[in-house]
Symmetry: C2
Subunit: 405 residues, 2 copies
């Protein structure tokens, strides 16, 4: 019997009808001989509603009480999914994060899964009961509720799949992972199989289909994941498999093009003798919980100076500037906003140093200026003007042959 | 320092503004030197919304999963109240039923409080932190969530007050207990002090201000309760004290007039030799969870027969008939619907057998036919036509001098 953890996101449980349809997909999988555990998000819009209520009292994500309010969203959808499964003739019961339990550490609003006890799930599944875990939540060492950050239900599902030795099917509102956002490039194509690393880079670069930490977790624990649509009938979704890199038969150089709008560029100019400027800057940014991306360090034109550039999300810009001014009062700090990031991702980039050069060429031909370029083993990202995003995505998608099946 | 458990019902936490106002009342009590623990209901309408969602999947009150969904309502309001208290400069934290923990037994949807561990509350209060308990919920021996039935937050509050040796202030949307429903009789007057037994009868007979089980609990554990309005400014609500019968200085014969619409009358005619008809009938009704009221047994006009009459809520009528037909296939069963119950309640009734007679007179003068009459130590109830309720309430309120201060 194949064990499967099936995760249903907010839109897949967004209404009574959608819950009922998703429950039907589970019933079909059970009829096919699979043994299922289910993980659910809050009904779409509910997390924002609850966050808004907490916000009325001045509480943001990161407050223990905000987590108490937010966790109620998944609590309700877990109960409703268990009831919907019963309508399909299955036995089912809900488990809340603290009931599993899912142990967490780390701060409220962005906790990490420290461990998970899957005995109750094994017992239920062995007895023919479909367990339904409320995703996105766990319990801290102090006995209080914790949430895992946006998209955290993917992480709940990956962790449960690892604990159960199960495959992890992520049901969402699209039929898998695409070569780019179909809303920007209608020729975007579904990817049959992608490696964990490529999926991770796509997710980190803005593809919202899977939460990056869940992919990291799946890679580290060797969990096989699939991304499927819950909006199609049972068996109709072809989806995308996320597998170990060696398991992909046909390798493209580039697997996909991702983008993220509303980025800002920060530049620090300091004395090159002060070689710890970068360390001080990144320590300050980490303390302020600012995620930093696309780091470039170079000798500045001013002799004896060093220039450090990096990008941050626009929403983090004020916090980043305040932290840097406090930590490095003598450095010159400048910033630029209204930027976006486009990235090409592919495991084949490892062997192809010329892709970076050709990316400059492709964007240049479209009249798009690359402000900052950064590369990793399997990704090349360029910082460009916000309003050039759509042109850049379409140009890169065509240039790397992603529209050719 | 006076310890107080302050309970806020659904309308008192029905919106961001109401939560903020209720938090202000708590802050004022703390400023007055009281040490508070708070218990909250779900925001008004939320329990019905969640019950409706569960109902979409065929689940009613009494299902374990329904309880999981319902408990989310109080979870959210407890978190929001803790945040609102912080806005008023207090330290506060929420406790969910399973975190206290509040131990329950009995069925889902109508669980009983089996015990409560108040150590965490004592610790919090001693540290100057206002604990906010999510009402209406606890945890069963099997580790699953349980809810306590409609109005269960009153019971949570009474149990916490008993555990803490605290007074129990029940904040609601009216300024205490009134001699009758002011929507029917504008001359209804607030009662300064009422005994537990009288309050219990008023609540059982339809006055919705307090849940009967919470009053029973308060009486058994000698908890002093007050009913106050959360809609007035701090100190402005005079309220009603519910106290031991000996503590009431000035005793009226009748304290209040209560009513309940949508009652039905059931009559069983059976052989008088079969003396266990009543026992069999009530066992069958108890198994079907039908609450029975106003029981009258009499010799029937048919020789050798006995007539058993009682009232049930209209919503329970079908269930009652099915249970009785199965248990007593040879008895003649008849029913009448469209009825209501009016009751006069007063500790002074114990010594005044003539009140029952005068009640017949008062209703008779208003042209109202009494179908069934039942008395207890401190209550007289009459079953009348539904559409005579308002006239009956006003006539009785005037006849017993309840409008005269």
């Amino acid at each position: 019997m194949t064990r499967v953890v099936a995760k249903f996101g907010g839109t897949s449980v967004g209404s009574v009808e959608r819950i009922r349809h998703s429950a039907g997909l589970i019933a079909a999988a059970v009829a096919d001989g699979e043994t299922l555990a289910v993980v659910v998000s809050a009904m779409s819009g509910e997390t924002d509603r609850l966050l808004g209520l907490a916000g009325e009292f001045g509480a943001a994500l990161g407050d223990e009480e905000t987590d108490v309010a937010l966790a109620a969203g998944e609590q309700v959808s877990a109960a409703l999914m268990a009831l919907a499964l019963r309508e399909h003739g299955l036995q089912a019961r809900s488990f809340l994060g603290w009931q599993a339990p899912v142990f967490t550490d780390g701060p409220p609003g962005a906790a990490r899964i420290a461990g998970m006890d899957s005995v109750a799930f094994e017992t239920a599944m062995d007895a023919g009961i479909v367990p339904v875990l409320a995703g996105y939540q766990g319990v801290a060492e102090n006995g209080r509720l914790r949430t895992l950050g946006r998209g955290g239900t993917d992480l709940s599902a990956a962790a449960l799949a690892a604990a159960l030795g199960a495959r992890c099917d992520i049901y969402t509102d699209v039929d898998g992972v695409f070569t780019t956002d179909p809303r920007i490039e209608p020729k975007a194509m579904r990817i049959d199989a992608i490696s964990h690393d490529e999926m991770l880079e796509l997710a980190a670069q803005g593809a919202k289909v899977l939460q990056p930490r869940s992919v990291e977790f799946a890679k580290a624990r060797d969990v096989r994941m699939r991304v499927l649509s819950s909006f199609l009938d049972a068996g109709a979704s072809k989806g995308t498999e996320i597998v170990a890199v060696g398991d992909i038969a046909e390798r493209r150089i580039v697997s996909g093009v991702a983008y993220a709008r509303d980025q800002a560029r920060l530049a620090l100019l300091g004395a090159s003798g002060k070689s710890d400027m970068a360390r001080q800057a990144f320590e300050a940014l980490a303390s302020a919980e600012v995620g930093v991306d696309m780091i470039v360090q170079a000798q500045a034109r001013t002799p004896g100076s060093v220039n450090l550039e990096f990008s941050v999300a626009h929403r983090d810009l004020d916090r980043a500037q305040t932290a840097l001014e406090a930590a490095l009062p003598n450095a010159q700090l400048s910033s630029e906003t209204g930027l976006a990031k486009v990235s090409v991702v592919g495991a084949g980039l490892r062997q192809r140093a010329d892709v970076a050069r050709s990316l400059f060429g492709v964007l240049g031909e479209s009249g798009i200026v690359v402000k900052v370029l950064a590369t990793s083993e399997i990704k090349i990202s360029a910082l460009i003007e916000n309003d050039a995003v759509e042109r850049a995505v379409r140009a890169l998608h065509a240039a790397y042959g992603l529209d050719q099946g």
